[in-house]
Amino acid sequence: MLEVKDLHAAAGGTEILKGIALTVNAGEVHAIMGPNGSGKSTLAQVLAGHPAYEVTSGQVFFEGRDLLELEPEERAQAGLFLAFQYPVEIPGVTNAYFLRAAYNALRKGRGLDEVDPMDFLDVLEEKLKVVEWGPEIMSRAVNSGFSGGEKKRNEILQMAVLEPKLAILDETDSGLDIDALRIVAAGVNKLRRPDNATIVVTHYQRLLNYIVPDYVHVLSGGRIVKSGGKELALELEARGYEWVEEAAGVV
């Protein structure tokens, strides 16, 4: 589904990603872990097409298409979704309007008719259950005045509505209390299917108790320095990141 080859990326002239290689197949959950500043969030944002980053070399294929050639909205229409680490507040736009605009944009991209507000309510009813929310959240402005936990739940709600093939969760666990973490993780698990895939970017192993990965990759200094199964996450939790970085000769 996703193939990243020797990806280099920079922000403001500083190279942050220094040769990432990663393959993700349908049905898989990959965890990308690493210390602060290792480039985890940069990788997530580069894949979504964040304009602050410049890809300096390498290739990324998504469902056989050259992802780096696509605009952010085209990537979304191709089935890629980034759950933001810091979801953006948009005062003045209701969640209902925003979600319908996104839903219809994807439908339009696939040659389908747009749905009207009434029909969209039916679509939403099921999706709200994924994050254990009632309809009242739809009349609030997007993320505006939301708590940290509400913002992350809102990201998962968007994911539920847009049904991506590949979801990248960028530090979705940061700043969540245990209840919010449980709801968010349960939401992600409900959305898992054999034909979609998930990349979980996280600093801590905690989230991986709920969203169990098939593969764990350790990112350090802009490179993946170690990959393994879900047991690697537990080892990182117990021993920290230094031993991996030392073994890889990063520090």
Binding site: G49, E73, I90, A101, A102, A105, L162
Partner: protein, 434 residues
């Protein structure tokens, strides 16, 4: 030119200007003398530094004559509520046929100034030109010299108006090269409650004419006044407006102003808090394009303790247009426990658009909470990326964010039909067709 108006005044004074109560001719004479003395402002005048009035000064505008406007032509400006109590003025003159004067609660007066000057001198003497003095802008003096018609709204004590009152000032299709000086008085007495909408609209789109309006508002003790001012003049017209508000203790005044018309448009909103425990809310939106210059000057005078003022003005500027915002907040030494917040935010849709924004806080009390903030910028790139990452096309994402920027103040319009109309106006202006 100043002389043109002085000449016009002499002929007016000898004619219609002679009517009315005994004190009126003297007031007019004092006003024209004041205007003759100070003349039109220039860019050297701090109050007018960024707003050139020379095109208005150079323009030769004749007093607007009577004209007729059809009910159908007026319909689009009535927020879908032609049945609201409504005073209509065509080129500044009262049109009884277009106005709607239903039975109102006892003691409520809803009528035009020209009639009231003949019949109700006492009420007018108490208020007219008592709030908007002659020492302010020369345009106010000019208006006072020439005032002959406008709206009179009087709500007696403890009277609640269920429906809003709509004051409509429409320019007829043949209004080019005319000047009108509408003069309005809104009095909401102790414990009364009213919502007044004041609309300046045009059927002379593309024509150059001059509206010089003054509205005086008195909000009595514990009165609740909601005032919505819609300025949709021709984009080649000149519009100078003053809203002068006096608030008594425990009163609430809420203002929303929309400015989207005028080649040069200036609105001053001055609010004096004459006692304690007053609440004042001021919201504003300006939408500019082409070569428009739109200027909003607000001033709030915190003269007494325990008052609360809250102000949010927002602008969306396109093309080569320019906006000016000046927000004065004056807090006297005795005005302790003042809570005043002012915000001015500007969104530039074009690199050629410009904003001059100036918060002006003068605080002489020490136990107060006063804040202000002004921003000028383009759309938030991060927000744009957020929307695009959800599959939304960039042009649609820009419109959504621009609309949202405006919606934050439009949502503060309490009257739902007015709010809906404003939403539509904003959407249309932003090129939305949905």
């Amino acid at each position: 030119m100043t002389e043109t108006y002085l000449r016009q005044f002499e002929s007016f004074a000898a004619n219609g200007g002679a009517e009315g109560p005994a004190w009126l001719p003297q007031l007019r004479r004092t006003a024209i003398d004041r205007f003759a003395n100070v003349g039109f402002p220039s860019s050297k005048d701090e109050e007018w530094r960024f707003t050139p009035v020379s095109p208005i000064v150079r323009g030769e505008f004749r007093p607007a004559g009577s004209a007729t406007v059809s009910r159908e032509a007026l319909a689009p400006f009535l927020f879908g509520h032609p049945e609201w109590p409504q005073l209509v003025f065509v080129n500044g003159r009262f049109d009884p046929a277009l106005s709607v004067l239903p039975t109102l609660p006892n003691g409520v007066q809803l009528g035009n100034l020209a009639t009231a000057l003949r019949t109700d001198g006492a009420l007018l003497e108490k208020h007219l030109s008592r709030h908007a003095g002659l020492e302010g802008s020369p345009f106010t003096a000019l208006n006072t010299a020439f005032m002959r018609d406008g709206a009179l709204v009087y709500i007696p004590p403890d009277t609640v108006l269920e429906r809003p009152i709509h004051l409509v000032f429409v320019s007829s299709p043949d209004a080019a090269d005319t000047v009108a000086h509408p003069r309005n008085l809104i009095v909401v007495e102790r414990g009364a409650k009213a919502s007044v909408v004041e609309s300046y609209v045009t059927l002379a789109e593309g024509a150059t004419y001059f509206t010089n309006a003054v509205t005086e508002v008195y909000s009595g003790e514990n009165a609740w006044t909601e005032h919505t001012r819609i300025q949709r003049e021709s984009e080649r017209a000149y519009h100078i407006g003053l809203t002068q508000v006096d608030q008594a203790r425990d009163s609430h005044y809420r203002s929303f102003t929309l400015s989207m018309g005028g080649a040069i448009a200036r609105h001053n909103l001055h609010v004096r808090l004459n006692a304690s425990n007053i609440e004042t809310l001021m919201y504003g939106l300006y939408l500019t394009r082409g070569d428009q210059i739109v200027d909003n000057h607000t001033a709030i005078y915190h003269d007494h303790p325990n008052c609360h003022s809250w102000e949010v003005y927002k602008g969306i500027l396109d093309d080569r247009s320019r906006a000016v915002f000046n927000g004065k907040v004056l807090v006297k030494p005795e005005a302790q426990q003042t809570d005043a917040k002012q915000t001015n935010r500007n969104l530039l849709l074009s690199t050629s658009a410009r904003v001059n924004t100036k918060p002006q806080l003068e605080i002489f009390a020490d136990d107060v909470k006063c804040t202000h903030g002004a921003t000028v910028g383009a759309l938030d790139q991060l927000a744009l990326f957020y929307l695009r990452s959800r599959g939304i096309q960039p042009d649609v994402a820009k419109r959504i964010l621009t609309y949202a920027f405006a919606a934050e103040v439009v949502d503060e319009v309490a009257l739902e039909p007015v709010r809906e109309t404003l939403n539509r106006l904003v959407l249309t202006r932003l090129g939305y067709t949905e």
